[in-house]
Symmetry: C2
Subunit: 266 residues, 2 copies
């Protein structure tokens, strides 16, 4: 039996999994993301129980995804200082001589949606996760897209809602999309989790206005067939119809958007 | 000798050209864009003097660029009513049985920059023209990119500058990028052409703020290696350094942008 390894390296926790050649999950391991010294040996120990054929890594960013670069596989200017400039991929390559793929956590999620999720029939689409941060994975022509570095579209600069007096929580941009619409941004306004706001709280219209602006600017720039929502905040089922409504108001009939039932997805 | 035809179909004028197999311009023809009834016979008449091998068309948008669509080659919801739903490509296909390529005017310009312009070494980049309108062509993996429809990134939603009291000239979005930063938007503010403003007019800082926001949001979304500026307004040589400065202020060191000398180009 052949085995394949996968890692979702998040800023809060690491999730590792081994899948067998039939595509069945063999084992799963989770641990908090503390420091490389503490965390990395645990991950390597987990994979050591298997002879894996390959290892796919989706990592929190910004990261260096360019194979020709001298810092390929490193984590770059993350606010998580212990991980800054850490050679994440290299640590696994030293431990295992297997084929590796290294991309952003959201690109890995987008790829997963294409292989066996809600976007199996799509060529060009986005995956957006709204949780601790906001991340966007981009699939172009059924391949993970990177470009010069890699998309960081969760930090899009958007317009403030007139009724919103929060100054924003992004350490770099303050009131970018992540600074206004991520989980911590909501929590900073209400001193409680997004999860604990009522479904009909008027804030959801503001949140939808921010996400609709982002989706609209993405649509104008890369014209995706669909945008798939993931992450804690987007578990709010009332959000997607609100975003759809705001989106139509922003568009004013200008561009042809995909049918609303298929455009915004969970 | 073999000949190849090309058309830049603009909202104001049509430019046709025939090139020979050595890549030398054989002949060029220009006429105003009035109505299909009046304009189309002139274009067809021009190409009739040659036995062309193929015809490449870059057309003002929005247009249908998807070969599998029943309205492939048509002009769509343009504000120029006479051309709305007009089968532009089909009119040429009826007249000439040659291979055709049909894309947006800005995609054609972007492609030209890749073949023999300033982006011959680039894989992923944007071409932005700032003139009567603002259009953006997108090259991904050295191919013209369309997506679900095609990019319309000249209409990006951006933040208004605090010192700007103009309400915007876009008939659909009012104060989108095109509505705030295109030639007609500048003219509407000052009752004179952008060309006639002094080089050190404080307005150029506002214009740069708008363009920098757009470039930054493009960079966050598709991470291009460069952005090439074309069109009348970008002939203002003072603009690019101002955009660069605004761009750095917006980024706050967050994403790695290409070296500033190669990132923004004329």
């Amino acid at each position: 039996m052949k085995y394949y390894g996968g890692i979702e390296a998040g800023g809060t926790k690491m999730i590792c999994a081994v899948m067998n050649e039939d595509g069945v999950l063999a084992e799963r391991f989770e641990c908090p993301t503390t420091t490389p010294e503490e965390t990395m040996p645990k991950l390597i120990h987990f994979f050591n129980s298997y002879t894996i054929e390959s290892l796919g890594i989706g990592c929190f960013g910004p990261i260096d995804v360019h194979k020709s670069s001298s810092t390929y596989g490193h984590i770059l200017q993350t606010p998580k200082k212990a991980w800054r400039n850490f050679d994440f991929l290299g640590s696994f390559q030293k431990a295992f001589s297997v084929e590796t793929v290294f991309t952003t956590d959201v690109n890995a999620a987008a790829y997963g949606e294409m292989i066996s999720g809600t976007a199996t029939n799509n060529r060009n689409f986005l995956y957006i996760t709204i949780g601790t941060g906001i991340g966007v994975g981009v699939i172009i022509n059924r391949e993970i897209y990177h470009g010069f570095t890699h998309p960081e579209a969760g930090h899009l600069l958007i317009r403030k809602h007139a009724d919103d007096h929060f100054s924003g929580s992004c350490p770099n941009h303050h009131d970018c999309l992540e600074g206004l619409a991520s989980g911590p941004a909501i929590e900073a306004r209400f001193k409680k989790k997004a999860f604990d706001l009522y479904e009909d709280d008027p804030f959801w219209t503001i949140e939808a206005y921010y996400l609709a602006q982002a989706v609209y600017n993405y649509a104008l720039t890369v014209s995706p067939e669909c945008v798939i929502f993931g992450g804690g905040v987007s578990k709010q089922r009332q959000l997607l119809p609100l975003i759809q409504k705001e989106l139509e108001q922003l568009n004013m009939g200008y561009i042809a958007l995909p049918d609303h039932k298929s455009f915004l997805r969970h």
